[in-house]
């Protein structure tokens, strides 16, 4: 309920309404300012001249607005950059897919003697692919840690048993050769496809296609039939925090894996033997239509409800993750905008403070000008022009600095990478790799807000100056 309302606000009202309000007030302010510049150029010159009388004071006041405007742009750009990156990773999972993952059940659910089989079964895979009407394809996946070897070069990586559709769903792109085919899967060929990094590490000099890699744990050789292009990480699934990394993968047909390795895997860990009996690590379902995803996910959960007791599977729906991530991103951006607005507010108070001081200091001058024929509105204009010049200078320089956000973040990152390498590696990948993405509205918004701040916070001092009677103002020492 809340989520829906939120979504509605985000999708329709937020950008649209805010945009229109901005443009409406922006147009009024701009017309006012342009009118002054055209009709009273001398007032603008006078304002600049007066501000130049106290350069330090003016620059510090401008700095307040500058920081506010720049931080609006920066904070929005960075939060949008992070949000976009998360969104992109989720989108890479495929919005039309549902992933059912085998997870290790809590230890009290496993019997103490021997190994308990758990997780998804081939039977369930057959059942799902045969009975769920809304799916286009279903991909069974089995994965495990393995060592890969060629000549004396070794590499620890992930062995993935899968079907041909896996490449398409996971957006793997073939560089040379071909991905696993149905024929290879059917006849359980000992063929494999290497990811770009594995190929590069094991075959720095040779062409990998046609060579065989060795897996010592199984004392087995696999013929290389394809090499993939490099690929970035995607979002984490199945409760693991780390993003899925595809860089150390080797892919073989799942039927080959079943026959040659089997379901039981024993590993030696700190002296004791550990093992697991798993038929499938994951089933990826691909729906015919994105609109079917939620319905299908419910159906699948019901069909697999027997796993509830064991708690050994989890259903991941990227579409839901995506919606959550979008909402989170917008909330994040709204929060960033609010924080940045506070600094604009502080900048505005700075302007008001300086203008009040200026009005008091220049009371005598105001009296002289009034006595020589200045109308109230001339005085108001004079002070508003000064605050506008201050806030616009801050606004424009702030925007220019805001536009430097991208290069500045990369520069800061490369500095941080060389000085604090260790600490940087501990940061989440999203933070390490964030590319700020400037929100166009934040530029127009920041510009208009800075102009508005100048006028709003300048109007009170200006009116106070104009309200004084000329005689009283002249008496002021």
């Amino acid at each position: 309920m809340m989520g829906n309302a939120m979504q509605y606000l985000m999708d329709i009202s937020f950008s649209e309404v805010v945009n229109r309000v901005f443009w409406f007030f922006g147009a009024i302010l701009a017309v006012w300012f342009v009118n002054i510049v055209i009709n009273h150029p001398s007032a603008v010159m006078l304002g600049i001249k007066n501000l130049w009388l106290h350069p330090m004071r003016s620059i510090l006041t401008v700095l307040g607005i500058f920081v506010g405007v720049a931080s609006v742009i920066w904070l929005l750009a960075i939060s949008k950059g992070i949000g976009d990156e998360v969104q992109r990773q989720i989108e890479n999972l495929g919005a039309d897919t549902i992933m059912i993952r085998t997870v290790k059940p809590p230890s009290e659910k496993l019997s103490s003697q021997g190994l308990t089989p758990y997780g998804l079964t081939r039977e369930e895979y057959d059942m799902l692919s045969a009975t769920v009407p809304t799916i286009r394809s279903a991909i069974p996946i089995r994965e495990m840690r393995r060592q890969f070897q060629f000549k004396d070069r070794k590499l620890d990586g992930r062995l993935v048993g899968c079907t041909p559709e896996y490449a398409e769903v996971t957006k793997l792109e073939i560089d040379r050769g071909h991905f696993i085919t149905d024929a290879e899967n059917f006849s359980r060929d000992s063929h494999c496809v290497l990811s770009a990094k594995v190929a590069e590490k094991l075959f720095p000099y040779e062409d990998p296609i046609g060579q065989r890699i060795y897996m010592p744990e199984n004392q087995d050789f696999y013929l290389i039939v394809g090499v993939l292009k490099p690929k970035g990480a995607t979002a984490a699934v199945g409760g693991s925090m780390a993003a899925q990394d595809f860089s150390n993968d080797v892919y073989i047909p799942i039927r080959t894996l079943q026959q040659r390795i089997g379901d039981t895997i024993m590993t030696m860990r700190s002296g004791s033997r550990e093992g697991e009996i798993i038929e499938l690590n994951q089933i990826t379902l691909r729906c015919r239509d994105v609109n079917d995803v939620k319905k299908t996910a419910e159906l699948v959960s019901t069909a697999l409800s027997s796993h509830e007791k064991m708690e050994d599977i989890s259903v991941v729906v990227p579409l839901e993750l995506l919606e959550q991530a979008k909402t989170t991103k917008y909330m994040f951006m709204v929060l960033a905008a609010m924080i940045a607005s506070i600094s604009l507010l502080v900048g505005g108070i700075g302007i008001m403070n300086i203008m009040l001081a200026t009005v008091t200091e220049r009371t005598r001058e105001i009296g002289i000008r009034r006595a020589l024929g200045a109308k109230r509105r001339d005085i108001i204009r004079q002070f508003l022009v000064e605050t506008s010049v201050l806030s616009l200078t801050g606004g424009i320089t702030g925007i220019l600095f805001g536009l430097l956000c991208g290069p500045a973040v990369s520069a800061a990152r490369s500095l941080a990478n060389s000085w604090f390498e260790k600490q940087m590696m501990d940061l989440p990948a999203v933070v390490r790799t964030v590319e700020p993405s400037i929100v166009p509205e934040s530029i127009t918004g920041a510009f208009l807000i800075s102009l508005a701040v100048g006028l709003i916070f300048g109007i009170y001092p200006a009116i106070r100056a104009a309200k004084m009677s000329p005689i009283e103002a002249l008496r002021h020492e």
């Binding site: 000008r369 006595a371 020589l372 024929g373 200045a374 109308k375 005689i471």
Partner: protein, 256 residues
Amino acid sequence: MSFSDFSTEGFACRVVDLKKEFVLKSETVRALRGVTFDVPTGDYVAIMGPSGSGKSTLLNLLGCLDQPTSGSLWLGDDDVAKMTDDQLADIRSRRIGFVFQAYNLIQQLTVVENIQVPLFYQGKPLSREQHQRCLDLANMVGLGERLDHRPTQLSGGQQQRVAIARSLINDPFFILADEPTGNLDSRTTEEILQLFERLNNEGRTIILVTHEDEVSKRAKRVIRLKDGRLQWDRTNSQEVRDEAARYAIENMPVEV
């Protein structure tokens, strides 16, 4: 006086039963209690009177800096007493020349710029003629060589001369001067008075407030206020004026 023969022709201003009250929290100060007089064009009037008698109040009303409580003040064809704040400001920028005791120049502006200020508020860009007029006025008050100086770089007498030039820029009904020599020594006072005399000889109407008899004797006419009323209104004979001028020059301190 019937209304039909009330004419403003030939008068710099006509003041009719002018009253001004200041309403304070505890009391009402009646600064002017009904003052009536006329100033013909080309007149030179000194307003005298004890402190608090309402001289500055009267001058501020004449200068359209304030609105009277009742009465009329005719400048040209307009009764200023009925005008709004904006209209008063307009008159001030177009037809009033004010000279203050404290000079009241704008510190950050140069001599020329100070002279131009009233034109600035007439709402039109400065014409070439107006600019030339500024230079002529600066020359006339003897500051042609100091156009780019700031007030802080000038002596009191020089500042007051800039103020007089400024008061003339808009071709005013009259020059109003509230104790213009109050801050000056006798030598500079004499400079200013001679400048006034010259302007008056050229046809300018001058109304000045002063405490000093020597200054008031130089005017054509003296109006004395007491407790917000006109006490007397006299004309100085030419002999009195010449005598005062001669006396001032003879008694001027010798330059060292």
